[in-house]
């Protein structure tokens, strides 16, 4: 894996290489928490602009992924905080929602960008889901279809779709329990 690229001999080319490696996963992260395509892309774009600006100050062994991740994460956290502040007082549920979004993002570690064992395990676990479960899960996660849309496409009820998703989650937790320490606790509570 090419992580710590020496910045920047052929500056633009190397920069593009870094971009290719990190843009998509960073967008995935910011979209997940900001739930707004514009803002999400803006945040990631800004992080790369910053990286470009400080390129001369970076040493050869700087962890660029970490640098970008930290910028993106902090900017997203700030945006979530700001959204909480401008909420009107009757929007209590939305405030809670934002609070838990914030707390959840806060816990995402900088291993997020690493192409590690966990990522492979998750991919494998998804691949090994029972067929129907996997189809529904992938439609939901990869195609970002609503439960109702999945139901329509497959000609099943929305309840069935939900049941598949719930089952998929349950299996994934179980399969990955050694990799996500807290999942063990979940299974103990649930089963």
């Amino acid at each position: 894996m090419k992580d710590n690229i020496q910045l920047f001999n052929d500056e633009k080319q190397d920069f593009k290489e870094v971009f290719r490696m990190y843009f998509q996963p960073l967008c995935h992260l910011s979209r997940h928490y900001l739930e707004d395509e514009f803002e999400a892309k803006g945040v990631v774009q800004d992080a790369f602009v910053k990286l470009w600006e400080v390129r001369s100050k970076l040493s050869a062994d700087s962890n660029l992924g970490n640098f970008l991740f930290t910028l993106v994460k902090n900017n997203c956290l700030n945006i979530l905080k700001r959204r909480q502040i401008i909420l009107k007082h009757h929007e209590k549920i939305r405030a809670k929602e934002l609070h838990y979004q914030y707390e959840s993002l806060e816990r995402i570690g900088d291993d997020f960008l690493e192409f590690n064992e966990l990522k492979e395990k998750i991919e494998l676990a998804v691949k090994n889901l029972p067929e129907h479960c996997r189809i529904v899960f992938e439609m939901s996660r990869n195609e970002e279809l609503k439960n109702r849309e999945i139901a329509e496409k497959l000609g099943v009820t929305q309840k069935t779709v939900e049941a598949h998703l719930t089952k998929a989650l349950k299996i994934l937790r179980k399969e990955l329990k050694d990799y996500l320490p807290m999942i063990v606790v979940i299974n103990e509570i649930l089963n």
Binding site: R31, S104, F112, I122, S140, N142, K146, L172, R173, L190
Partner: protein, 328 residues
């Protein structure tokens, strides 16, 4: 914790009641809270490599920003079109997804200082100028911009929402067909699609003047005013702003208020890149009120309208150009 409940939360389909229950559980139990974070993290990480972005285009946008730091920033609401394309392609059989993504980038041509921005069908663009001015450009609209001395001059075809950073000695003006709107510290919306006989200017904040092309003041707007200019009759009428209508398109919704079916369809065709044809002319005048999310597919919108308006439709796929929907 209830597993179905957590699935609803993760897929963003929980009702307000379910959310309330869910967040109460989290606030009462530290364990449940941490467990939720883990499941959410799993959910996040389980689809890491699937969101399609066109990296070359994204890089060009970034590089453009880096090499011209003073130029306006532009973003595009790609998410909305993606959702539409993914589903609608199946239904209407329009082109390929990649074709869609590539063709909807707003481009900046820098000739003699004139910058042009285009939001193609199915996308809403945001332009942020270096002076802090922000413009939302609706689907199918075009804005050109240049500076002449201290004057900030723009020209609009279609619909745009302006948040102008007012600079005392540097006026911002928008030319739309026969009229010119001059800001006096302002947030406003202009709707001037070719083919429409009207230009609507709605003032949200501040003050704005409407001038004729010759530079004579025709109207002075106050917040809450909507000026409706008739191109043929060349007259102007001030009516109150219809709430929500202006902001809705920026949030990806069509708001329809007692509009004729024909006008609704002309709006829909701007978004969905389909054409409509009435076989039964009487249907044109049917009036409808409602809100439609733009992420809904054309097919679903048609079904919804069909329910109340009592018409039938069929889709004629075209090899080249937009598909045709016939109403009968």
């Amino acid at each position: 914790m209830d597993q179905v409940l957590i699935t609803h939360i993760l897929t963003n389909e929980a009702t307000p009641e379910e959310k309330e229950i869910f967040y109460r559980i989290l606030s009462e139990s530290k364990e449940e809270e941490e467990l939720y974070y883990e499941v959410k993290s799993l959910w996040l990480r389980s689809s890491m490599n699937h969101h399609t972005v066109d990296l070359d285009t994204e890089f060009n946008l970034l590089w453009n920003k880096i090499s011209h730091p003073d130029q306006p920033k532009t973003y595009l609401k790609v998410g909305m079109i993606l959702r539409f394309a993914a589903i609608a392609l199946l239904i209407l059989g329009i082109g390929g997804i990649s074709g869609y993504l590539i063709s909807q980038h707003s481009h900046q041509d820098i000739y003699s200082g004139v910058q042009k921005f285009t939001a193609l069908k199915g996308s809403v663009g945001i332009i942020e100028f270096a002076d802090g001015t922000k413009v939302w450009l609706n689907s199918g609209s075009q804005l050109s911009y240049h500076e002449n001395g201290k004057q900030r001059l723009s020209e609009l075809t279609g619909e745009a929402y302006f948040e102008i950073n007012h600079i005392e000695d540097s006026p911002f003006s928008v030319k739309a067909n026969q009229i010119v709107v001059r800001d006096l510290g302002t947030t406003f919306n202009i709707k001037a699609y070719p083919g429409d006989n009207l230009i609507e200017t709605s003032l949200v904040e501040g003050k704005a003047d409407i001038l004729s092309n010759e530079g004579n003041t025709i109207a002075a707007l106050n917040p809450g005013d909507c000026a409706v200019y008739q191109l043929n009759e060349k007259n102007i009428e001030i009516v109150p702003i219809t709430q929500n209508v202006m902001s809705a398109w920026r949030e990806g919704k069509f708001v329809i208020r007692n509009q004729r079916l024909e006008d609704i369809f002309s709006e829909l065709s701007r978004w969905y890149d389909v054409k409509f044809k009435f076989e039964n002319k009487e249907l044109k005048d049917y009036r409808y009120t409602g809100t439609i999310r733009k992420s809904t597919t054309a097919q679903q919108v048609m079904k919804m309208l069909k329910l109340t308006a009592n018409f039938n439709f069929r889709i004629v796929e075209e090899q080249t150009g937009s598909d045709l929907i016939i109403i009968y």
